[in-house]
Symmetry: D3
């Protein structure tokens, strides 16, 4: 893919995330001043069960009851993560053919790498979790192999070896990523795992890599805040950036029914939003993806709305982090809303 | 509106809240002995996004799997908030034409004022949040301007200035209410705000009014119980009554999908029910509304059922408060169900 | 019902719970080595409101995105509750005609008793809560009248006397069960009750029986863990086994919309899964049922998925309990996932 | 059931069909002047597949966007089938316990017979098709065994012998009815049959009874109008009245998705409405039921709305028939709407 | 409204009908070469029952599975109604506040009139049927009072006098239109009426105006084609243009469930598409609206898709009419698809 | 794929079409006596819009309210298309990875060819329309290139050249099929096309191939029966067998909402069933597929039910054709149901 022409969204009209300006990933001039570039990855060819995440990018972009005016002042953080405090562009989608996973993965990595190389943080809207592999690999391609740590919210480890006889699929991306060397196993943090997959063999492989996976039982017993703090220390040890990958199914199906492989007993939406905000505020985020939103299985668009807010919390957190770094201030979650900043 | 003829529900058959007796708001004799009069406000002309709350009153009235027999003995409080411990009537709806907000607002305030003047607590079933303005204003008309404090559960501040070029709408009622002087800004308590609206200008205006708004971040950090206790002290300082306004979108969309402007990351249904119960039990409630239930966006009627229970918790709390005041007893939430009262 | 021929599922194709082997309840040779036998009870003739639980057994059996291969290694407990660590068979359904409650109840009790007598734990998939009566009675028929205690998760006490003029129905099974002497009133523990039913008369009757019912207000005030621990002590006092009955409506409708009589303000899915796991791991479970899953009212199959996981948590907990008893080990919920066993 | 107290609707508030006056079936004085009495039969214990028809009566009564004012002037027939041209009362529901088919059937027949004996045409809202047996039998009890012919719209013959081991169920009512002698086999007309049930044995039995069943293939090949005309001649030969039984599944699932056993390839809604109107206008209708509307499976209430209109077409047709008999006039379907009467 | 700034869509991102170019209605230079200008009227404040049509314009614009590329070659007519054979622009929405019907109606008429005056055919996407009044009046304002005839597809006459105490509402627009003199009563053709509204008084008023209304009974008896031919003769007698108003509820609810007041027994989608095509091809269309599409009540977007195709059939019909007029050719519906043109 | 082990269904438990016996396509001995072998093709990687057809095979297999007993006596044709009159086996699914279209297509063709070579008619359940290419090619591989004609029901021509940059996809299969020479262009019959795709260039290519495509306008104008008769003559001219490919979207979205690219204005379900029956009865069917059923977009399973009946009509038609050929009899669609055979 060498053209500098904007492809636009693959499904539906050419809109952008809540109305931020358009850009073209292959034409760096179009996003020269952007802090973050949003990219859609409308691919669901890798899902092992319910498809539909191909429509994720378009729904995440626009599911909001407020005007699509490219501005969202955060009540909690008192910054605008879309304009003023941060500059965000939307590069449209990478063309991804769900029937051709290999080419889709390759093209996506090229786009992510281009954005990272040109100085912006790539924020990718999935799509199924297959895309986490090219997303994080694209960032590592820029920052250096093994220089990116991973914080991965998910009900599933996504570390399977072969799925449906293929090396590419939404249950395998994290294994591909580790095997490629892009991300070190001992800088790979998982939160929210639960249920009955994978089996002992894969768990043993994960342990060998030095991965640290927080199953929901541990999170409930110790508290999410404590687990996050522990994970943050690992993530920032000898790494230059953090890739944040949010599979919406980390939340309980009551909060996120619109997904492909819902596993009961997850986080609340509130917990996820608070956790994502802490990460964006406290860590040097170098890349992000939000995946596995499947609109056909959603109700009243509550899952798409949650994913839209996950994106906004990331952006607001980054914006606030930058402002506080600049101003030497600190954000206090206990401060009353109307007490000024 | 001067006729003393009952209008009945605007949409569908003439039913009452879970079967309580009918009355006519303009004919005080029909509710002479009532402690509470329920009134429907089937208006959704003010909503800025998804409509449908016009069907709120009818769904809230009847969404319950138990017989519609005008009786609901509370397990938690051991009183019957519909009969015996409290007398409740249902005045049907005020005719509200969604295409004519001004007249609708005026007529509703007249009805609310009439009920309050005649000695009953008005409990209004919305409709969109536009109605909070006439609801609280109608009560203040009776108790005295500035003598009513407001406790307002909502994801949104509803303090916008102009919406779609109009002074009337569901994003503006609280501003109208403050500007009218009916409720003092420094007796205006908001709980559950979150998200990305309004912007700094409106927040500054709110701060100027002396409002106290508890954003979800503060609520999570400090705990809801502590925030409520703090708010209760403000609400009862130099006021004669409390108006309780519950926008169902204060709950997380997972618990209340059937609403017009769902904002992820809200309270659980359990938290809302417990909070509302405390308010009704601990404070001198002078008026209530439950708004923004939009049945077309609901699933399996779970949002309507929640709103029905919010109403019942209010009624049960008032009933228990009155009994305890009379008997000199106190309610203990830790008491086992089967240990007598 | 005296034939030894397998009846199979009443609605739809002949499948088994996630692919475990088939057996026939009336032919003990077919499940000679089974620790647990699953039985479907597709009956909704007893429900007082929304029907649909007749489809519960088929949905609970197969609602899972993983292969139906008769194996589910638990991440939390590190055992496989379906094979290897525990042997589970599925006897299909008992033929239950929703229009003939009496015969259905009688036939179900016969099947449950047969399974228990032949040394396996019966695990019954409902169906409405009517079936708890024959389920627990069938187990008591084997263990001895009054030798089985009951732990009952539910929003409703299910202790009504007469429902719609009939002695049989989903609001009455617990009364029938106590009256029959199968379960002692003072070994009858209820968790999760809430709402507005039953009234004082029935509560008085429950108190007379010595029942212990934890309403949600008490559970919130004291914490679920503390209540469970207290209940466990009662349940194991002078009883030989515990019957666990899980009405899915104990969860909040946001987590379990697909049920007949949803009552807002319930447990989260996470709380239920953790509680059920503790029971299976800490107590001598002699019988189980999971009831009131109504697929027609579900969304994206999240309620069926939750019920499927409730079953798996029970099975995994029993498997781990047996292994730890054998090995003299103990399960630690704080242990990281990848730290070996 | 001997009380003369009105039972009211079994599920939900006490409403009537589009607001017509209430009456009590066991108290003839309450409907002394009624031409037609509507009765609800909220029973779904007999259905062999999807339940939910217990909510049919309440949905059919009120699914209409016009005011529930007890008046519906027909554009096509220029009469008001609810008031003025015909007097209609609503007796509420017969209490029907879905878990006890035998008693439910017995009680319903008693009510239908009482209404017919007192000079009104009973019009029963189902419920599943089980009720057609007591409905038609109750009318025959009044008019005389074998003096009532049957016109039966249905995708299914409902002439099975035993269903789920029971003699009572929605697949067997027509056989019960014939065996009882209430309706003669050679005055039994069926329209709209299709699909793959029943098998040859049952078809042979039906042929022996002299039944006349119009399968959809014949209806398409010959035209519905011709088939109806032929059927009318049989129905009025040596009979004193016609019982019209409309199973909503006679329509294609595209027009009536909210039903228990949808069979593709049925009539359009338009065809059914026109056919029902002809019957009510041209034949001496002595009883009616409209069955198998299952609201949980409906979408946007289109099936309930269709059933509501089927009832109104029957009532309008009867009203117009009576007026034309009185005035010596004839209805012309080709007459323009605004050409006066 | 005097600004020449494009308002854009009121709800959601700024998209256009299937990707056609943008224009601004108040700035004629932006659509100087347009044959047709599309305008959204997102108003549902006038609906008497289910709201939701405010989202109609956005759904109608984009509900299509093909690329939003501003081109749609018609298989049936072999022209492209969006580009090449016809030039179409989309002016976005007129800002319509559902709580203020009067102002909304006034602003819409101004916009429609502006478009018509500037030489383009206005094609308005509703919105509820209230908008037909300003739509047709705006066209008549340009062509001359009484010089426009009306062809109106609808289940309802929309000729009520007062609705909910207001002169403005979706049941009254046609009366307003006639009373204003914009359209002559004897050039007012209605097709598809059915059901039970309005009553005799209103029908008498309609007859007095000389209206010609084809109720479904007449349409079935005579055939739709014959009725259309008859109507065409009236519509073109002493008029300069035809306004085509399509209420999607003219179709059966099975084909168009997503609407506010569904009336069973309507046209099929196929019939409507063919009829609309004939009108656009055979008559001098001067204005069009497509109304009453309510996405919240739709399923799988089939109603929005139908409305999108109604628009395309109109545009394709106009395009083919112009080409045939230019080339002296005639369209033959029996011509095989691949026989060239 | 060379193993003779049965793969079983890819999604969900191992069931068969309505309970017919299992077989393995790679092991001819397992279906030596079968007339027809059913094969699932759960692939949706080729769809250009809404996915979900991967679940088509499982839903089509079991969506039926009757027992899954491997028997379906047809009322219309008086044969049992599943047993007795025809022997049908179900080979489960071919493993199809939606992310790898090329391999999926290759494996499917191998399976279809194997079945045809072994003397059974392959009947493939899709899956998106991509599969029509390997389906028909697999049959032609057995019968001879160009010796199979195609009858193709579809809203879309599926003759695109390149879709999303790939040669494989559901809009291109028919082109691939023609280009391969498997099916001759002048023996390629399409019925039900409509809408706005493809454009003139592709239509010209189709004309060059000698294809005969019946657009809905021609079908309405001439009548479906006449078009079918004409098509039958072409299909049987110099060909040895007919491949019947049914895309469920040939039906109107009101009858078949659960599909990926719904195009308004299609056939009714009744028309499709009658047409398919005629083909199976009158022509030498050599292979069949039923595609584009997308359960996530379905409502109340009406689309799956329709597809299930399409399969049954094919099987019943073949069975009756064979019996009539054997007995020298003829089927008469006008014969009354109960007049014997």
């Amino acid at each position: 893919m060498t053209t500098s022409q904007r492809y636009g969204p693959q499904y539906g009209p050419d809109i952008t995330f809540l109305g931020v300006p358009r850009c073209t990933w292959s034409d760096p001039a179009t996003y020269a001043d952007a802090d973050v570039v949003i990219l859609g990855a409308p691919f669901d060819g890798g899902t092992s069960h319910r498809p539909g995440t191909r429509f994720g990018p378009q729904y995440i972009r626009q599911t909001c009851y407020l005007p699509q005016d490219g501005s969202r002042p955060s009540l909690a953080l008192r910054v605008d993560g879309l304009q003023g405090d941060l500059t965000v562009h939307d590069a449209g989608d990478v063309e991804m053919y769900s029937g051709d996973a290999e080419r889709s993965v390759r093209d996506l990595q090229e786009a992510v790498h281009a954005i990272a190389s040109n100085g912006a943080i790539p924020l990718v809207l999935g799509g199924d979790h297959t895309i986490a592999w090219p997303d994080a690999a694209g960032v590592a391609q820029h920052l250096g192999q093994g220089r990116v740590s991973m914080i991965h919210f998910d009900a599933h480890a996504d570390t399977g070896d072969i799925e449906f006889g293929s090396l590419v699929g939404h249950g395998t991306p994290m294994r591909r990523l580790l095997e490629s060397g892009a991300v070190r196993g001992d800088r790979f943090l998982q939160l929210g795992l639960r249920g009955y997959w994978p089996g002992p063999e894969t768990l043993a492989w994960m342990a060998e890599q030095g991965m640290r996976s927080y199953e929901m039982t541990e999170i409930v017993a110790r508290g999410l805040e404590e687990c996050l703090t522990e994970a943050f220390a690992i993530a920032t040890d000898a790494c230059d950036g953090v890739f944040l990958s949010v599979d919406i199914d980390v939340c309980d199906p009551g909060h996120a029914p619109g997904t492909g492989t819902p596993e009961p007993g997850g986080l609340t939406a509130r917990q996820l939003l608070d956790a994502v905000r802490r990460i964006a505020y406290e860590l040097p985020v170098a890349g992000v993806d939000v995946v596995e939103v499947s609109p056909p299985y959603d109700h009243a668009e509550i899952t798409s709305a949650l994913a839209n807010r996950v994106v906004l919390e990331v952006l607001s957190g980054i914006a606030r982090r930058r402002r506080d770094e600049r101003d030497g201030t600190t954000w206090d979650p206990r401060q009353p809303l109307l007490d000024g900043r």
